[in-house]
Amino acid sequence: MNKPDVIVIGGGLVGSAIAYGLSKNARVLVLDEGDRAFRATRGNFGLVWVQSKGFGAPHYARWSKRSADLWADFAAELKDATGVDTHHKRTGGVHLLLTEQEVAARAAMMEQLRREAGNDGYDYEMLDAAGVRSLLPNVGPRVLGASFTPYDGVANPLYTIRALHTSLAARGAQYSPGHTVSLIDKEAGVFVVRTDKGSFHAPKLLIAAGLGTRRLAELVGIRVPVNPQRGQVLVTERLAPGVMGGGVTFTNARQMVEGSVIIGDSQEDVGLDNRTTVPVISNIAARAMTCFPVLEKAQIVRAWGALRVMSPDGLPIYAESKTMPGAFAATCHSGVTLCAAHAREIAGWIAGGARPEPTLKLVPERFDVPKAA
């Protein structure tokens, strides 16, 4: 592409959503790595999730909820533009609990989230064993309770990325995979981005390269201390609808529109290793079966490991470089949930508008302050 207005490094959900927003009014070039890159976009669970977000950080709870609120409209817009259905649905969400300790811990967390939400409100419900069963007849006898909020929902992250890349092309933006960015300079007020295949120039730059953001953002003077955290996920064969026995969404197993049930997931700190391991897979299967005994005979046809992009506090980082203005960085863990807010509000900010209020504290400087004891 000749003379883009903005170069976006990283074509995962974060980079692509913001690129999509920017491409309404600007010429955008998205550079992405090759086929085997670490790409959380391909390995996630597809929840548009609010209920556990922002514990001790109400602004993040607000931000997640805002994006979840924007999702329906965003999904409709994508479908209109591309014909691709992202399968977004706000179903309400349930987290199942198997021990008294889990129940107590969850109840305390949900109550604190309500307190912290203050005037914004936070509707939730703790369900006891009977309550869970009346809502979900298929749960197993060892399920002792659950938390529920109406805010949560789902989308298919794979159709979402396809819709985003399709509409980028339709808007004259360019998605260019197969480019590993190695260096970034600024020459005569213009950023120069060098990849293994060539150099690209633009007055504005966004780094949204997932785990790659750490190294690339440093080149423009932004500190983005993200680390990989592995999650393993299992998928069943396509099954007839209604396996979960209810329309709400669970955190650890959900039936996709296609019929397959995806079952997750683990949280492991193992560095840049996205392999699957038998002990973890077995554990995930065991928990799923305890929650939904009906799954016992379902066949797992695939499994994968994927790396989450985790900041030290698990919250997003959005920043503009102080030393090289015009260079931005954006990264988050919940790129599906925040997709709609990224496409609308973060793109608006990078294009020159105001920074969205809930993100004012989501700056890298928060990691400079030593934690109070």
Binding site: R238, A240, E258, G259, L295, K297
Partner: protein, 103 residues
């Protein structure tokens, strides 16, 4: 679609049913072979579009031979040896876990 060569008729006999119809086999033969000998062209319909499919590779690769065997869905007919009294039903669309179809 297939018939047995008269010269290949020796061996212990066994019977299974496919959608309720009895089929006679020789020991060591697969459920997929039973489908072919019984003349059923399609052993399943797909969960995606509902179109009919039959075994394609006979060596465990393609998964187009999926049928329900003794109540359990999506089993690979080409990899499973027939046993006396087996109840085989064609796999119509997506497998219904614990549903009526799969008891």
């Amino acid at each position: 679609m297939f018939r047995r060569l008269p010269s290949a008729d020796a061996g212990a006999r066994l019977r299974l049913t496919i959608d309720g119809v009895a089929v006679e086999l020789r020991a060591g033969e697969t459920v997929a072979a039973a489908l072919f000998l019984a003349g059923s062209k399609a052993g399943r319909t797909t969960p995606v579009s509902g179109t009919p499919r039959g075994p394609y590779c006979m060596m465990g690769v393609c998964f187009d031979c999926l049928v329900q065997i003794d109540g359990e869905g999506n089993r690979q007919a080409c990899m499973i040896e027939a046993r006396e009294g087996m109840v085989v039903t064609r796999q119509m669309g997506a497998r219904a876990l614990g549903g009526k179809a799969e008891s």
